[in-house]
Amino acid sequence: MSSRGPRVYSTRAIVLGQREFVEAAKVITILTPDAGKQDSVAKGILKPKSRLAGHLEPGTYCDLELAVARNLDIIREAQTISRFRSSQQNLMRLTTLVYVLELVDKYTVDGTGSDLFEPLLMTLERLDRGINLSAVVHGFELNILEITGFRPSLDQCIHCLSIVDSVQANWSQDGGGIVCGSCVSVIPNTSLIESRVLKVLRAYQSWPYEESARIAIDSSLEGQLSRVMHGLMKAFAERDIKSADLLEEISWRTESSNG
């Protein structure tokens, strides 16, 4: 009998993704409140009578029982707590769900990200309610940047740290914040950021969700917010975030079809 601790443990988890593994097994990437992101194995999940299959789809919030193994822990039991069904039935919300999962996946490595569990769970619940997607998504993007140490500077110039008025602000995606008029010549690749975009981002960053969700966002403003935030998320992740492009395409198409 080993004295190295329990061989079986239970945890709540949010499924971030799946990938094919050997035989009928899959590797399931989960985010847990204690261990953060981890890969685990679901044996036999591809078999028609698998008791795990329906409980381990990406975006599922579930209770898991895992057995400690030498490499990847093995999922013995899974029970769905919520599948966020409303989000699963709406293209915009489902793509947004896929986007937030991809963000968590890209901004964490194995064994990190436990402090993202509650914000992610709250975001999935809000997404499921479908009220003010803009505040939900951009609030989560700013939250993830804050937790992972990339908090964008939306009040102070990233170079001289002076307070910048929202009317005259320049934006540096690579620098991660705004640049004052005096410093714009020394920071490469800046562009003007519209006053109302900056004001909304400041609100999303500092107000509680209940208040920021009351801000009315029209489609043109949302388009600009998405472009700024997607650019920032890709720049800090230092790799492409494919679902961000898909989200923009779907928003654009939905907007066009609504005239």
């Binding site: 035989e23 009578k49 990406p58 293209l91 793509t95 494919k242 079809s257």
Partner: protein, 215 residues
């Protein structure tokens, strides 16, 4: 593709050396989906014990499939000619089009014997985590096919898997196809035969209740 340079699949106990023909064959089998190192070893030793004619038949079948299988220009399914036998079959209903993820899904639906319409194979689903976007699938071909069908297609059945990625792909396609004023349907969802209600996930059980039918 260099099977022989994948490292010693047989581990440190490999008595044949990293690039021996046996290890190369094990590595080649190991590259196949769902084949782990032990299964790869079993298959390799089976080939080794088999008569040379069987090994030749296997090698010839592998080459044959790579050289002679093409994509049907209409349904995008794997075929030996284009249009394929299914698309060429005048007995099939032209007003039903079933959109599936993979060629094997066509085989599965054909096995039921309940569907007599045509197919369109996407060759995947939208899976941003794996870097697969709509542009990587046969979606443009599907839309071209529907636009040029002169109203013969009346209903498009979206038969992607009931997974998160399959649902996202179905919703994405539904939005595109609705703009053509066509009826779009989705495969029903419920409990598989032989399963346990007790162990069903809440999504499946919820949908099974939602789409219950009178008997």
């Amino acid at each position: 593709m260099t099977f022989g340079n994948q490292g010693p699949i047989l581990g440190n106990t490999n008595p044949y050396g990293g690039s021996s023909p046996i290890n190369r064959l094990v590595s080649a089998f190991h590259m196949l989906p769902g084949i782990g190192p032990r299964s790869a070893q079993r298959l390799a030793y089976h080939v080794l014990r088999s008569p040379a004619s069987e090994a030749q038949e296997l090698a010839s079948a592998l080459l044959d499939v790579k050289e002679n299988i093409i994509l049907c220009e209409s349904c995008q399914n794997l075929a030996i000619k284009s249009p394929c036998n299914l698309c060429d079959d005048n007995g099939r209903s032209q007003d039903l089009l079933c959109v599936v993820e993979e060629p094997l899904d066509v085989v599965a639906i054909e096995r039921t014997g309940d569907f007599k319409g045509n197919y369109h194979v996407l060759h995947g689903v939208i899976a941003p985590r794996s870097g697969v976007g709509p542009e990587d699938l046969k979606i443009d071909e599907l839309m071209k096919r529907l636009r040029s069908s002169d109203d013969t297609v009346k209903e498009v059945i979206l038969a992607t898997n009931p997974s998160t990625e399959g649902e996202a792909t179905a919703l994405y396609l539904a939005q595109l196809i609705h703009s053509l004023d066509l009826k779009v349907t989705r495969l029903a969802r419920g409990l598989p035969t032989g399963s346990d209600v007790e162990y069903a996930d809440i999504d499946t059980l919820g949908r099974a209740l939602e789409f219950r039918h009178e008997i």
